[in-house]
Amino acid sequence: MSEVIKVGMADLKVATPPDTIRTSGLGSCVGVVIYDELTNVSGMAHVMLPDSSQSKQATLNIAKYADSAIKELIKQLLGQGGRAFSLKAKIAGGAQMFTFQSGSDVMRIGPRNVEAVKLALKQSKIPILAEDVGGKSGRTIEFDPLTKMLHIRTVNQGTAVI
């Protein structure tokens, strides 16, 4: 029996076939999928904020920030049989849910998250094979480690597969 492994807000998990892995209601958050092309071990992180050095918390929730979440996800993948040279990524999310006149930094969080995720993946030398980022719609995404397809559902634009 295959299961759907659910990833919450500011959370990350690893899955292997036949299980699939999903996260619901990505707004300004970014869903990062990293998978090993050959061994199929796959992980997903639901990133809320760009930079862990901005954290005001005593104990850091590493899954919340782009830089620390991607580092941790890679570590867990390597621990479960993933190999650094065949890791690939697909990303989705980073929407601008509301439009405001004031262009304050907090309100631009979607694009900033996307930038931070791309930077962290680049630093870890993981190529992004597909992306669906920006826009104004929330997304629910589900990744199938076997087919390596990322299914993206939005409220008004139907379903896409990347």
Binding site: A10, L26, L49
Partner: protein, 212 residues
């Protein structure tokens, strides 16, 4: 106050009263607008983890109509007015007299959308101004944003400034409903999410010792 667990039942009662006063005024405004009777429930104040929050409103995938605004001034925070899609449609139909107004599929009627935004403005404005009067604090709402989307996506946007400081949010949730001829119908939920540093300011303004 850095730790939300420091809040005792006395503090929670005060926050409940804030929800009561705010949503009470907003319900009155809505009632005047619609010329119908609007009821409200006793506010629910709770500390929830960021993961749990969308689950409490039917799951992250649930489609809702949301009005969101930031509160600026002495005690910053986020405020949401969330309503079921069907309820928001009915509200706008009765306000604009356009029975074809729908929020299921774009394009949406511009006049209807702008009416909806204005309703959000009025409701949030009356909530906030009564809160400002009560606490004697300077609170200014930003122009509200409107979105029809998944509740998870909407909430995580409003949680950004909170989430940098912790993994929990304090939610003052007030539920208002329309008293129909046959049954009660949900009109919507108000969610007030004060930023972490704002509690101290709110309690102080009311003369309550935070460490009581």
């Amino acid at each position: 106050m850095k730790d939300l667990n420091q809040l005792n039942s006395f503090h929670l009662d005060i926050l409940k009263e804030i929800g009561n006063i705010g949503a009470g005024h907003a319900a009155t405004s809505l009632s005047t607008l619609l010329k119908r009777k609007i009821d409200m429930n006793v506010p629910n104040v709770r500390v929830v983890s960021l993961q749990e929050l969308p689950e409490q409103i039917g799951g992250a995938d649930t489609e809702v109509v949301a009005i969101f605004l930031r509160i600026e001034g002495d005690a910053p925070g986020s405020m949401f007015y969330l309503s079921e899609v069907q309820q928001a449609e009915k509200l706008i139909q009765s306000l604009t007299g356009n029975d074809d107004f729908q929020l299921r599929k774009p394009p949406f009627d511009q006049i209807g959308l702008s009416a909806l935004q204005e309703v959000g403005n009025i409701l949030a404005g009356s909530y906030l101004s009564s809160l400002a009067d009560f606490t004697n604090l300077n609170l200014q709402p930003t122009v509200p944003g409107l979105s029809i989307d998944m509740v998870g996506a909407i909430l995580n946007y409003g949680l950004v400034s909170l989430s940098a400081a912790g993994d929990h949010a304090l939610v003052i949730d007030t539920h208002i409903s329309e008293v129909g001829q046959t049954q009660e119908q949900t009109a919507g939920h108000f969610f007030l999410l004060p930023d972490p540093d704002s509690f101290q300011v709110i309690f102080k303004s009311l003369g309550v010792d935070v460490n009581e």
